[in-house]
Symmetry: C2
Subunit: 465 residues, 2 copies
Amino acid sequence: MSEPTDQTNPDAGQGGQDLYGLTPDLLSAILEALSENDDVRLEALVVPLHAADLADLLEQITSQQRRQVLDVLKPDVDAEVLAYLGEAVLDDVHEILGTGNFAHLVQQLETDDAVDVLEDLDHEVQTEVLAAVPFASRREVEEGLTFPEDSAGRLMRRDVVAVPMFWNIGQTIDYLRASDDLPEDFYEIFIVDPHHRPLGSVPISRILRNKRDVLLESLVEDDEPTTVSATMDQEEVAYIFQQYGLSEMAVTDADGRLLGAITFDDVVDVIGEETEEDVLRLGGVVETDLNDEIITTARKRFLWLFVNLGTAILASSVIGVFEGTLEKIVALAILMPIVASMGGNAGTQTMTVAVRAIATRDLTRANALRVVGKEVVVGLLNGLLFAVVIGFVAWQWFELPLLGVVIGIAMVVNLLIAGLAGALIPLTLQHFKIDPAVAAGVFLTTVTDVVGFFVFLALGAAILL
Amino acid sequence: MSEPTDQTNPDAGQGGQDLYGLTPDLLSAILEALSENDDVRLEALVVPLHAADLADLLEQITSQQRRQVLDVLKPDVDAEVLAYLGEAVLDDVHEILGTGNFAHLVQQLETDDAVDVLEDLDHEVQTEVLAAVPFASRREVEEGLTFPEDSAGRLMRRDVVAVPMFWNIGQTIDYLRASDDLPEDFYEIFIVDPHHRPLGSVPISRILRNKRDVLLESLVEDDEPTTVSATMDQEEVAYIFQQYGLSEMAVTDADGRLLGAITFDDVVDVIGEETEEDVLRLGGVVETDLNDEIITTARKRFLWLFVNLGTAILASSVIGVFEGTLEKIVALAILMPIVASMGGNAGTQTMTVAVRAIATRDLTRANALRVVGKEVVVGLLNGLLFAVVIGFVAWQWFELPLLGVVIGIAMVVNLLIAGLAGALIPLTLQHFKIDPAVAAGVFLTTVTDVVGFFVFLALGAAILL
């Protein structure tokens, strides 16, 4: 069964590209088998896939192809695949498999994965699937769903290794060997008091490295945080894991009692999601799924474009003020988009840096003033350089030296304002607890368009008329 | 010593915001102590900081404040702080401490961290610091630096736990207890053949869970990759860790022999860096450091703005073609930025989604055609909606019904082209192995500006003149 993988990974281990996972060659072979309805070949190709890779495949093919793949896999499909799927494909897989088969897969998952799958389903489907899961598994999942969306409680698994402070390594190892309900993989052993409140944790490599009579107490990691509250936002959880390079943290309830644990692999996904959200928001896109229906995608994009239409009309109305000037000097109409465009781009550079620095907590009150000042000076410097370039171009193009002066001054002013606005707008939004990534862009282009058009046309009217 | 931390974290463990790290309150207190030259208070505040938090502080304050903080810490400064600093601040810290003290800190670091620090220094300073490090530490670091930048070899630490396949758990634990040069923390035990080539790995929680006489062979993880080559790009390494949720991988040389290991915490940083790079590039910024000199920042931004100036002039020259039309109907000059702006924004939405989907390998040949088709339809749908809105606005504003028709048609065409270009440009760049995040934006706005201005003005000339 491992042959197909070897065959499509001819240079596995040699340091090329795409060594693991769904390589382009493997993908092509699968698409071919699908289009030729060659089920034998298809099975040989998809059965060896890791759940994460199979999920990637299912995300990229059509609903009909998904049915073909699942038909071939049916008895052997790895339940974990579900945990890697996005909302749209998850719904489709539920439809293809039917509620019974789907629930059968869900009950094989660890609690955190099951919660992850169920929270993505529509409320109706969620209830239907839960009803088909046996009581024992259902209760823990339902409990998981009671925590707020995107909270530590949703990320945690319930199984966790917790032992009393006074134990030594020998007692701990004996307990682990005898215990049945340990998590599949764990990285820290939590020390708890008699009320089951975590006091600290010991990385398991330290358990392996020390002799049986060493007390756990002496091995506790003391300069790193151990617990997060179940209601903490996952972004905050991810920050703590990333900041201190942690492998596993205890999750506690309102009384500080141990509820479960979060491991680094869940957090790696969150880190990806949160930065991703910022990239998309800066691009004017709300949370997106490549497999959304066309109408859903169009609707999600509409709002941002609508806001942008408003700001574009505002900018045009500024131009409208200079209708008389434009009638007399049409060169101004031809050149005016250049000033606005350069301002928009320079401002976007500053804004992007500021938004990310705020998100990664590199931009705080300690350096805000200096960063704003620096961006203004950078805007001024580049403004001066581009003023010379565009001034010369405008002069030569329309054989009007004063037109060069007008566009040059407008360029300096707009790039300076772009630097100022690019830094100040995200900081101000952050101050009012509005996500800078969502809103900064609209404000910024409004400022750079309005200032760009106004300064250029007003100067043109004053100097050239 | 722990008082200040408690005091500034009044609700630690209660699930609020900013529970750990450099909280806003703590930062304010430190800035106050700095400005009042209160060294006793400063010491009480900064000594308890974790290395990662201290590094954040050093990144955010001025060079003079850095000197104050380091003076207060001097004997106790945690060497690991260096590993968290960016290039500009690292240079400054080197200058403040002097080469001797700096090298003394470097030699306390694990190899991967020392390599990470040294690769960020200028070649001259690097040589100077290396010369001051004792021979034993120096050799491993110098070896690390021979691997290509951003490769697995640079990320790995040299200490790794490797044992023969035929050992059982008892033998392994006895070896670990007796061994002196184990890494500080480890997560996998690598099984090697007599030539020191990794055959597989066992997560250490499985070692703890099983009895002494169980063979390692029976515990090997078999559906996940174990090794990467030392020359593999860190982006590829990060992909593998993230895709399979791995904790530690072996790094091998060209002959497949074990050289060292990479752990998840190094990779978490890489995942952050790589997505960050994409965000910044989409915003027209090359790799950035908030602490770069003004002139460095201005220079780094210049190139992108220069390219943008070229495309803006190109767009203006399209407008120039219609000089005669604009002279007669100035309303066209007033409205034309709206069409271009909407096209630019709609195209950016599509481009952002496509660039990220390519980076996360969610957009491949399996779904490329469908995604492009979908984006065109989304563009068409939103184009029709906005055509009605802007058509009505233009008609009412200039009391010219036909002007509404002209801008409406131009809007539909430009949003449709924006969807097409927004999806096709990143895919095409990717096909030619050019990073879509760097170049897609320029091409896209050129297309949407040129098409927007041309269609609107050409239709205006044809219908309204």
